[in-house]
Structure formats: C-alpha cells, structure tokens
Symmetry: C3
Subunit: 462 residues, 3 copies
C-alpha cells in the first residue's frame, strides 16, 4: 500500500531530489514536543486493547468523518468503555474506509497497518476481518507493549498535555520505573485561567489547595500558578499550552486585574469580561515564562463543541470543534508591547485560520525575537496544509522562525506515520526549491535536518 515515493512531486528530477533529502532524515529520532498521548500507558506498560479502541474510538478525525456521512455514534459505540462488539464496529469502519480517500487519516492509517501489522491489502469490507484478527493478535505480543513501541519508534522525547490540576502521578511513575524513555508533561492551565471552563471557580480552589495558596486573592492565585508551573518543571516540562478561543491579550493594572479576578471567580462575568480575563492571563503566563523559562504555546481559534446536541450527550472532544476567523496583529499587541523584545521569552503561535499565515503570523514572527511559528495544526496537519504553510510563511519569516513538527495526537500508533508525512512534505517542498534553483542542495540537506530535529529541539528547549 505504501509506495516508497509517496507525497513526492511527480516530476522525475524533483522527485529524485526529494528522495535524497528524505533519505537523509527518515531515520532521525522523533522529537514530539506537543501531543495528547497518556503517560499512564508507559507507566503501566499494558497491552493496547482491541483494534477499535485503538484506531476508531479515540480518533476524532476518524469518527467525525463517519458521522458526517450518517453513521451514528451509537453504531460506532463512541463512549462505550469497553466497546461491546468491537468487531462489528470495525466492520462498519472497514465498509466505509473509502470515505477517507484524500485525507491524511488515510495516510496515517495505511502507514500503521502496513509498517506495524504487515497488512498490505487495502482495508475494505472484504479485508475487514483479516485486519481485525491480525491486529488483535499482534496487540497481544510483547513487541506491541507501549514501551517497546516507544523505543521502536525511536522517540527521543514525548510531551503530553496535562491540566494544571493533574497530579502527574503517571509521569512520576514513569520516572521512578527505571525505564529510560523520556516523557515530559506540558502545563495546560485552561481549567484554572478560563472562566468559561466547566467548574472554573472550583478548579481555582483546587489549585490553591494543591499549592498551599489558599487565599482567593489575585496575588495568591498568581503565586499558585507559578508554583504549579514549577512543579511541572520538576517532572521535565519545558512548555505551557493555551487553548483560548482567541489570541487576545491584555495589560490591565493590578487593581483592575484584581477586580476582574473577583468577578470571574464569583461567576458574575459576562462573555466580554471572561474574554478579558483570559487575555490578561495570557500576559501573566508570558510574565511567568520570563521568570521560569517555560516556552508558551498559543493555540487559538477553535469554536469548541459546536454541535449542541452531541455536546449535551457525549461531552467535549467529539469532533465538533470548528475554526473561526482569528486575529493576531491587534490581539497580541498588549503582550508584545510589554515583552515582545525580551530575549528570554519564547512563544510558539499556532492557527486554524490559514489567512493569518501570510498576513499576520509570518510578518510577526519575521520581526519579533520572541515569536516562532508552530507547524500547521489539526485540520492542516496534512500534505496540502504543510505545503500551504511553507508557501505562505517562508518568504517572509524564513525557515528559522518556524518550530519543526508537532504530531499533536491522541493516537500513539500514528506518531511515526505523522512524522513521516511531515518529513516527506518538507522534503518535497525543499526539493522544489532546489529544482527551481532557489536553494542549493547542500543547503536543503541542512534545512531538512533543521526542520526535522534541529528547530524543534531549540524552540521547545528539549
């Protein structure tokens, strides 16, 4: 199923260059600085369960496509733990596998099927059971335990994303286990800095308890956040992550911030004040980053849980987050006015609104020393998305203001596939620049290394 030249330009001369560039990077270790795998897998090192729990249930790329074509969550047993009839669900998936034609899910899945399970005939109604049986059998083998796969994937470091309230017990367990795999947490404070987050006031109280900062004052709250960041650092964290609806930042006076904190804590803030509070908190996080050196990641622009009925029944992360227009040039100005020229600050920006790449993000990152651009994210973690990213960003921000690749996945088995797509896409882009004589090939070789491991290590301090 996997052609050795997949994702390379058709033109033979360009393809040959792409192949050479790819050969130089394909075996480099995987640096995964942002994602949503679970430290517990590696703490416990238990076998992954059935094929459906592995490939269908946790993957919103997969079940959103099936849902869009009229297949219900009931049929797919979304939310069932354990899945009652995984083979039946698998057959539905196989019958509808043609829906994924032209999507990155198809690329990732085929890669896993073939390289991990030795499956070489396309998944379909006909091959459904063969797939199911093969995968199920392999999952019981030792070579398919999480730690073994981690090593086999040549993962140099894997970052998870963790609530500020998480005990990080699994991270501790990994560290104490003696196993050498490097797994680090990422500080995600949304539950305690976003007043619209379910249970916000309760979360802030919990944060206070966790850090011994019980006073519900603005200063105490900031001290609690700083302390929690320190705790994450002791377990290896190098970065924070912020998933606000917008990129808005603010620079309020301390008294105004204190007043606003009181308001949001008492649940009296309207949408505008909630937004202002989040804005101020991005600025506070930047201020703390200057102190403790954690790299900030800002992931704005998703309208979460757009499907009201699915949200009411199934909760968050059900494939119904939809991007919205996002602004950076005005939104980030308060933060940048304060800290934009600080050599000690690192902020990695992401977007779900591709119009901002050439209009705002590349010009900003091509000027401010604290800014780097994260890779194309989520819906744009795909060959066309990566191509557009490079085309829209490189001429203004260059390559060196970008931050390498993120797999950003919940699906552990897809990690090598995703990095492979990124490496091939970058090789293809660079090959075209060489073929059109914008770069010499020795430069492209060097750049391919940077885009694969160099820039990500530097940007994330890994």
């Amino acid at each position: 199923m996997l052609h050795e030249d997949r994702l390379f330009p058709a033109d033979e001369k360009t393809r040959a260059i792409a192949r050479r560039l790819y050969d130089g990077i394909k075996d480099l270790p995987i640096v995964s600085p942002h994602g949503h795998t679970q430290a517990g897998w590696f703490a416990r090192n238990e076998p992954f369960p059935d094929p459906v729990t592995l490939f269908v249930q946790p993957d919103h790329y997969v079940f959103r496509m099936l849902y869009s074509q009229g297949i219900s969550f009931e049929e797919l047993e979304i939310g069932n733990k354990p899945v009652k009839d995984p083979r039946k669900v698998w057959r539905i998936f196989a019958d509808n596998y043609y829906l994924f034609r032209g999507t990155p899910s198809r690329l990732w899945l085929d890669y896993s099927f073939e390289t991990l399970f030795g499956l070489t005939e396309r998944l379909s109604a006909k091959t459904a059971d063969h797939y199911y049986d093969t995968i199920e059998a392999k999952l019981r083998e030792k070579e398919f335990l999480p730690r073994t796969l981690f090593e086999r994937f040549k993962i140099e470091v894997l970052a998870t994303t963790d609530s500020a309230l998480d005990s990080l017990a699994d991270h501790k367990a990994v560290r104490e286990s003696g196993w050498k795999g490097r797994i680090v947490p990422t500080f995600r404070p949304d539950p305690v800095v976003d007043p619209a987050f379910p249970g916000f006031a309760q979360n802030v109280e919990t944060l206070g308890k966790l850090t011994g900062e019980n006073s519900p004052s603005w200063r105490g709250y900031l001290r609690a956040l700083a302390a929690r960041r320190q705790y994450f650092k002791t377990l290896g964290a190098t970065a924070t992550d912020h998933g606000h609806p917008t990129a808005m930042t603010a620079d309020l006076s301390e008294s105004k911030a204190e007043w606003l904190f009181g308001k949001v804590l008492q649940g009296e803030a309207d949408a505008e004040h909630q937004e202002l509070f989040r804005a101020q908190m991005l600025t506070e996080m930047a201020r703390m980053s200057l102190e403790d050196g954690l790299v900030m990641q800002i992931h704005p622009g998703a309208v979460r849980n757009h499907n009201a009925k699915l949200f009411a029944r199934y909760g968050r992360d059900m494939g119904a987050d939809i991007p919205a227009p996002t602004n950076y040039v005005h939104a980030l100005k308060p933060l940048l006015d304060l800290f934009g020229n600080e050599p000690g600050l690192s902020i990695i920006l992401f977007t779900l609104d591709e119009t901002t790449f050439s209009r705002e993000l590349a010009p900003l990152a091509g000027h401010y020393p604290c800014l780097r651009l994260g890779p194309p994210w989520w819906f744009f973690d795909s060959p066309e998305g990566m191509l557009r990213f490079r085309e829209l960003v490189t001429e203004t921000a260059g390559f060196y203001n970008t931050a390498g690749f993120n797999d950003d996945t919940r699906a552990f088995l897809s990690i090598p596939a995703r990095h492979d797509v990124a490496r091939r896409s970058d090789a293809a882009f660079l090959a075209r620049m060489v073929a059109e004589h914008q770069l010499d090939e020795d430069e492209a070789v060097e750049l391919a290394q940077e885009l694969t491991v160099g820039l990500v290590r530097k940007a994330y301090k890994l």
Copy 2:
C-alpha cells in the same frame, strides 16, 4: 483551438493518468442541478437568435470584462431587445477577445465555437465576420433548436431557478409536450422571504393569493410557503435555493417571529431586523425541508448591485455583484442546533469567500451529517478555483461530503463546456494524487465517476 490535453498537468506521467481518468468520464451524461437557463426555450423550441443575443448580452462574465476596460453598455447594446446592430456589437467583442486570456470565459467560448460551430481559428478582429456569419447560419438549422441541443449535450436533467411566485407555466408546457427531456424547477423564495427584495410586501400578498392563504398571519405565511414548495415538487423540483447576503440563521420564538413578520411586512424594519427575518426564514425553510424532503442550497456572500449608477439605469444582474467576507461557523449555528443531526435534512453550502473553505466549510461538512459542500461558485467556477476548492476541502471533508458540479449558467450553449472544464479539472487533481501515491488509480477511477455523476445525483436526489 482545443487541445485534447488542455487543463491536464504538464508532467507526462501525471498527464497520462489524467487522460485515462478523463476518458472514463468525458461521455457521461450531464447532470445539471443548479442553473439559470429558461424552461421556455424548451417549451417553445424556437431557434436562438443572433450571435450577440446568444453569447454577449446574457453573459455577465463577458460584458463585465468589456465594461472594465472602458467599453460602454451603450456600445454593447446591453438591455436592447432586440439588439439593433448585432454585427457591430460582435465586432467589438471580437476586437477585444484578447481580454479574456486566462479566464474561464475564454475556455467556455472556444469550446462552444469549435465543438458546436466548427470554428477553429481564434476569434479576433480578423475572424469576427466569419464567426458571425457561421454562427448565424447554424442557428437557423434544425440541429440547433433547444431540444435537439439538449439531447446532443446528453443532459440527463436540467434544473432551472424560479421565483416562488413563478407560475411554472413553461415547466408545465414542457411536461405536457410529450418531449422526454427532464427539466425541473428550483424553489427560490428570495422575493417572498427577503424584506429587502423589491416589492416584498406585495410579493407576500401574491404568494397568499396563489396558495389560498390570504390571511397575512405568520402561520398563514408559513403555510403558503409550504404549499408553494409542494406545487414546485409536483413539477419535479427537488431543491430550494437561497441567495441571502449572509448565511445568518436564527431560532426565534413563535411570538417573536410573528412580531418580526408584522414589522417587515409593514416596511418598518431596519437593516438589522431585515437580516434577522431572513435568518429566521432560513431556519423555517430547513424545518420545511425536513417535512417535504427538498434539498436546501445556501448561496450567501454577494453584495448585489455594487455599482449604484449602473443599477439605477440598468437594474439587477449587470455584472456588479461583488463578494464580501462571509461567516458560517457562527451564522449557521442556530439552524444546526435545531436540525444539524437530523438524518432527513440535506443542505448544500456555497461560498464566494474562499477563506471559509478550509477554515469553516470543510470542518462543518466533515462533521454535520446534513451538510454537503457545493462546487466552487461563480468567480471560482474555473480551473484554478476548482483546484483550490479540492486542495482546501478534501483533506478535512473528503470527497464524499461534496456535491458534484453545478454549471450555474444562463448561457445554455456553455453547459457542455463548463462540465468539460470541471471533468478535466477533477481528472487533473485526481491524477496528481495518483502520481504522488496518495490514491491508487482504481480508486481515482471510481472517484472520477462519483465527482461527475454519483455525488450530484445523491446530493440533489435526482
């Protein structure tokens, strides 16, 4: 003039694949589910008049380009019925035919000139009279009567677009004529649901009379609309069409809706209330679609009649409609909150704001079961427009959440040309995916069929 490989990628290997894919679809019947041809042509089956009335006067793509370069409507006799000196107008058109280089109009026109009239030397000042004489002569032949052309074009079904107030007499006449060509109306309620439409209150009154719902009440009005939709269905309609300035929808209480209806009817609504009424009416139309099964088409985003002086003198549809930024993610939420998960509903979304393809439309259509994406529309019904559409949409929504091609034309003779451009463009896109090993060729063959006839028949219930 027409090279057999036009619009195929230059790379020989990819071109060969494109050629094979195109060969498999080029002779498929034409399914035309959305357009602006006239049922009367087929009811009366009279010869088309002179070349200018056929090619210049009705085609806003053509006369807007000429106008943009300083050629006046007077010179082009826009609005004159009949045209006084068609040969003179034709010569102006021919002299300026070079202006269309690089535009889809050029592709469509050359196709018609060569395949229908056997003209093989480029249109220019030099060939103007030869063109005129040849076309004029052919138009008098029997093979150029509307019904004969319809059959020669292998049109399986042709949908017109009709005001809710239209008697559909021509549609009835076609049905009663014994001729077998399938021509169906589309229910376009803008004149009776858009308070900004000229004569809105009068139109609503007429609607009441047509349906026997004479009471000017909200419920009576809704009953009248439902009845009129039924009437369209009896003459073959499978779809409705909505050309609002925005995609805004609303979910008002019945009492609020009733109050608003009164306000717009009395001409007392400001722009904001007019917009809210249109928003509510999109939701009402969705509710009725759930009842009667008509597929909804939403075509938002045009600022109509932007050129005030031309509008004052010549009226609507004078080539001066200009797109504006359009939002879907917030605008459609009220409607989707109500009906977004209903298996019985089908909504086909269009846009004139290409930024929404990857940011909003593909994520929405890749999740909600009721949504499909219409083809690139109007200014984007073009090779580059189609390429961008596939590149921006496919990775998130796949192919199967799209709805095939619309020719959307007033120019009957351009129908085969437009479908040919679409087929070639799709073949080119699929060929690249095959050449880059993202799809196998057998899958591309199947997809080419789907993009040409399968998806459109299904999406429009044809």
Copy 3:
C-alpha cells in the same frame, strides 16, 4: 550562484516555454513607477558608501530578519550615520546569511552580488571579508556611480515617493543637470491628509504657505492640495500615493467635511473621526485626479510601528509594520458611487491581505473601468506571492486589469534583481498556461511584453 533557469518550473517542457518567454523580455527596459529611491543620489551622483550602508542599513527586509533571530539593532548599528564599524556589521550579516534561505531577499542579494560585483561563492562567515573588500573597492569605481548604474540597469523611468511638503529640489536639480535619466516624483499627501500623522496641523500650515493658500478653510485647504499636485506634475509626476490604514472612503456633504476639517486641525478628533477624515480625503483626491489626470495609488492595510519600544527609540520604518485584515468592497463604495464609472479616472489598488485578491479586488477590477490592480506588494513581492497573485486574480480580472510590476524599493541596487524575479515569475506562470493549453504561445509572448512594459506604461501614464 545564479542558475540561468532559476524560478522556472522543473518540468522540462514547461521550463523550455518559460525560457523562451523570458528571453523575449529579459532585456526590455525597466519601468519603475513606484519606489523609494532618492532623487538626490542622481542629483549629486556621488559614490555609494560602504557595503553595510548599501545593503544592510536601509533594507528593512534584511534587518527585520536578523532582529527576529535575536540580533540587536545596536549590533547592526541601525540608525548610526555613518556606521562606525561596517566590517563588523557585515560579518554579522554574513554569519547569518543562511537565515534568508527561501526568502526573496536572498534572490535579490545574490543577483546583485553576482551581476554587479562578480561574486560567485555564497556569502557566509568564510567569504564575508572577500565580499566586503570586493564591494567596497567596486563602489569607488566610476561604473558604480548612481547615474552610470541607472543607465546600465536600462531604467526607462524611475518614480520616487515624496511628501506633499517636499521641495523636490533634488528632482529639479536632476532636470537642470542636463543628464537624461528620467526620474519623476510621486505625490504622497499622507502627512497633510492623515490627522494621525505626526505634526499634522503644522504640516497643513506649511502646505498653505508653500501654495499661498494661507487661510485655514476647507476650501483653501483643497485648493492648496490641488496646487501642490500641479507643482508635482510640473516636475513629471503622473501619480499620487496613499498609505492609509484602511481603504475607507466617504462622501460627506461640504458642511460636514468643513466641520470635520476644523475638528482634526484642532487636534480634537478621536480615532473614528480621524479615519472618517482620511476616508473623505481619498474621495477628494479622486475628485482632483479627475481634474488633473494624476493616477491614484491606494496602499492600505498596514498597522504601522507595531513594536512600541522600537518605535519609541528608533522611529518609523523599522521593519515592524504588520498587515491587518482589509476590506475593499464596502470601503471603496462611497468613492465608486461618485466616480466609479468615470472614464477619466485611474485608481491602482494594492493589498497586504491576500484574501481580498479573489474575493474583492479581482471582482472589483473586473468590473469598474477606473480600477486596476497593482502587483503583489511588500511581503508578497516574491515568487510565491506573484504566483498566488496571478492564480487568484487572472480568472476574474484577466491580465489587462493589472498594472505591471513595482519594485517599491529603497535599495537602488536591488532594482534589476527585483524586476528579474518578476519577469521570471510571470514567464513561469504563462509557461504553465501554455503547457496546459489554456493559452497559445504567441499569446503568451504578447502577454509577457504587456506584463513587463505595456501595462505599467499605460496604467501610470508613463
């Protein structure tokens, strides 16, 4: 360093076409209708100083990239006149030259290095001193005097951009020198029509004095502007240039305009009223253009001086201008309602928001006879930027509603390099159209000439 086929498509057949098209235009004269070189260079005809003052200091493309990677303005001696240790700055530049990989700066610089200074090994730490010595030595030679370079570059006409308050003494000196190089000013009234411009009221007073219109009345002010435009015309100006934050225009009554003028003059206008005044002044400028025939250029959409600390210390034009979303369809309507159909008016539109190309600018220019589209500007004056421009614009507006190339540069030595990139990019775009049989090659040959010299001469009346 410079491959003869650079920027041409890799596909051999397409590349051969591109090469033929380029051969037909590469030696055409340079028409440079918009830029920021200094007439004084040609008035005085003195040698350019050291390499740093030539290549680093004036080029915000160069120093913004270095700054974004943490190199301070102090290290680069930005603002120092003269530069104290140019060789040290040059070495920093050379050490970091790899940062420009993939940017147009790299293309422009390599072109100048090789074609003007005979340097053929890439700039790097290793070659830094060799570069410095070679360039410094050449700059002392006669062939490197400004007028000699002007002739060697085959510049047919070079427009500068000049404040409405500029005496144009250098322009006069060039004219009176007997030298035949054609250098013309451009009327840039921002300092006297933008109330947010530093010293606005003072500037308006100066304008009055310069024109003998000392009364601070609205009518006197308009007369002063008209008189100043006339003065620019006597020195060869054919165009005006407007760098407003937005494209907003207005059509105020005379009494409202007069009132607003008083308000802005007294410094009492808030941001909204300042914007309204600028909007009205665009309309007034169009009205004057109808009288005096000057072509209007509108360059909206930059948030100027985004970096507050750099602005406070170094002032304007420090590489920290960032684009913002820009609207044209609503913004231009008041002006177009008044003058959009006037045959005597010419307006060239630019954008930093590429989303407007296909959505607003091409539809507007493809309809209104007074509108032409300027080339991709600033961050988009690059191979990918030019490709996107043609792809997004051509199908709707054609080629003939565009206005050729602008180099828009402060860096005199980069002029041939920039025009060369534009010619190669256009040749590449046209070659693809020929290879895909959308154009015949004889048409592409004609178009290449038009895009290089024909359209720009016509659009700018040069």
